[in-house]
Symmetry: C2
Subunit: 344 residues, 2 copies
DNA sequence: GTTAGCACTCTATAAAATGGAGTGCTAACA
DNA sequence: TGTTAGCACTCCATTTTATAGAGTGCTAAC
């Protein structure tokens, strides 16, 4: 069977109405709300067809229809208006924070949650590869040595190192020189035993300090602590009856608290090609691949700070989420983020 | 009326049973569950007295009794056994993280939540006063300057500074010298215009860099970003029917997400004197001073990293929380934390 | 092809019935 | 005087029953 113009219009109305109300939509409602000027009986016939085609279902015999995942898919693929929304003055707020990516991302999560009434999560930036760009050891007081490591992505790591006795200035200079000349530009896989040995030889009797420093470097390069995930608005789930049965709520909130779960899939896809659209993707129901979100939909976007450094923003709500608004909000947010990152 | 030995025993049973079941406790239950060998009728008389004295109430005429806040208060004040529980091998896990207080505290929050089945929150350490201990500017590449500031609490702050043209080594050394000699040991209130002027004069033509650095210092000293709050197990509220009505849930979860609210009171009290007990405090119902927690109880403890650097750990659950377990768990946790901080 | 009309189904809500848990009181007992 | 058995009573939680309304599918007429 073909999707006639008329069927599409009816389907669209079913979806839109259901998005608003969350209640099954009956034939009479549609008859009145469209400009088709058809009686409810005619609509009923058409709806019967649409049901047969798998776009709508009845929760029970004598109820109106609700859209299926297939209908939502059609909706987001072909029926969304591409209007740009107003994510104004947010930019100003964000620019202040541009220095601290983490603060900025938190803000973004919060903003999106309160603006859309859905739950949001934002993953911190990932870096494809991390190399050492600069190392510095500095004595701060008699018993502490400050170690600073700058990575090639300009992330700075530091840690205080306790030492038993003061380290003379001369030695510090020497160590700094050795470390920088030997390790600069290397990533963790390139720091093999041979190199480490070479360093220790040069350092002579002060291998102890070197050991500690090398450990720090190893940590800095491998650890995933910048894999932060910021969430906001998880309580928004409670606003949608279809998601706030006790078991449903528990599962969803847990998924949001146990950020690990989310992380899994947020990390899966590298950003694709189409940069214009910022890779905005919509996952409906099981498409999310997350069991606890089978009754949800999720819209994600990918932001890029610069080449190879990217993260994701996701909005999770009921299947009847306002796709139109969410997508356009995300779209205009991404434009603004691009701007900010370009400057920063 | 006096609280006879027998009344106490009955009250204790009412409380304990209610803690377990969450259901009102009837006279027959108590008659059977205690070793008093009294008939339900006698118990009824006693309970009638206890009700008159304000320790228990009936939710409605023909129901069993439930404890009032007054009863809980009595319970935690006088009836808790002081047994030390087993918070073993946690210490090992924590010690690995000792370097990074934030990671450790997150772990603590998580551990407590999963161990007690209540919601937990942990505030990051606060510092009474912050002074500059050490400043260092280092050119990292042609256009970036790395600024590192060590505070007297050994917290290290750093930030990259973009510059238009390379800064010569000589100037860097000079600036470092000026900054350190002038600012060391000062807190933010002491950095007045006179001092700033003096620095700028010495710096000569490079006031621009100085400006930027001073701003960083100002931020480092004043900003409250170490006022982090880590929460865990918020979904545990859903396990207790008396807290999981929709409105109740929403409020509580919001309070936990909007950490601001929590922060308010977590920050109020400075740690008191009795260090042996680690200032473990119990707030019942309205004693929490947080509107959304009026049906909850909360147990808090204060940890100290060293003099003047402390934070709080809180456990929030239903009024019928297992005070015994919570208090002893907290107690032994605190001992372990003390140990860890002593070494670190 | 469209529509009015009707019988039918199903649910959500309200109203009524039932059972049980628990109390307070009284009177008897040690 | 303190304890207890017994009974009438109350109230809630749960189940059962009734009711109204929304919506459908089908048929027959336009």
């Amino acid at each position: 069977m073909e999707l006639s113009e008329r069927k599409i219009k009816i389907l669209q109305t079913v979806i839109r109405t259901y998005l608003e109300t969350g209640e099954p939509v009956g034939s009479r409602t549609i008859s009145k709300d469209t400009d088709l000027n058809l009686s409810s009986a005619t609509i009923r016939n058409e709806m019967s067809d649409l049901e047969e085609m798998g776009y709508i279902v009845q929760p029970h015999t004598s109820a109106g229809r609700i859209p299926t995942d297939k209908a939502y898919r059609l909706y987001v693929d072909t029926m969304l208006d591409d209007k740009t929304s107003e994510v104004q003055n947010l930019k100003e707020q964000l620019e202040e924070k541009a220095g601290k990516i983490d603060v900025l991302l938190k803000q973004v999560a919060k903003y999106l949650a309160s603006n859309t009434n859905y739950a949001t999560m934002v993953s911190g930036p990932r870096y494809k590869s991390k190399k050492v760009k600069f190392i510095q050891i500095t004595p701060v007081d008699a018993e502490s040595l400050l170690t600073v490591i700058v990575l090639d992505n300009n992330v700075v790591k530091n840690q205080m190192l306790k030492v038993n006795e003061p380290v003379e200035q001369e030695l510090v200079v020497k160590l700094n020189f050795i470390l920088n000349t030997t390790l600069n530009g290397l990533d963790v896989t390139e720091m093999n035993l041979a190199i480490i040995r070479q360093i220790k030889e040069q350092a002579g009797s002060h291998a102890g300090v070197i050991d500690a420093v090398l450990e720090l470097i190893g940590n800095a390069l491998t650890e995933d602590d910048d894999l932060e995930i910021y969430t906001s608005g998880a309580t928004n789930f409670l606003k949608y009856p279809e998601l706030s049965s006790k078991s449903e709520t528990t599962e969803l909130l847990n998924a949001f608290e146990e950020k690990r779960i989310i992380n899994n899939w947020l990390g899966t896809t590298e950003p694709g090609g189409g940069s214009e659209t910022h890779d905005i993707q919509v996952y409906i129901g099981n498409e999310t691949k997350v069991e606890s979100m089978k009754d949800c939909s999720m819209v994600t976007a990918t932001y890029r700070i610069h080449e190879g450094v990217y993260g994701k923003i996701g909005i999770v709500g009921p299947k009847r989420m306002d796709y139109d608004k969410v997508v356009s909000t995300l779209q205009s947010l991404m434009v603004q983020l691009d701007d900010i990152f370009k400057d920063g």
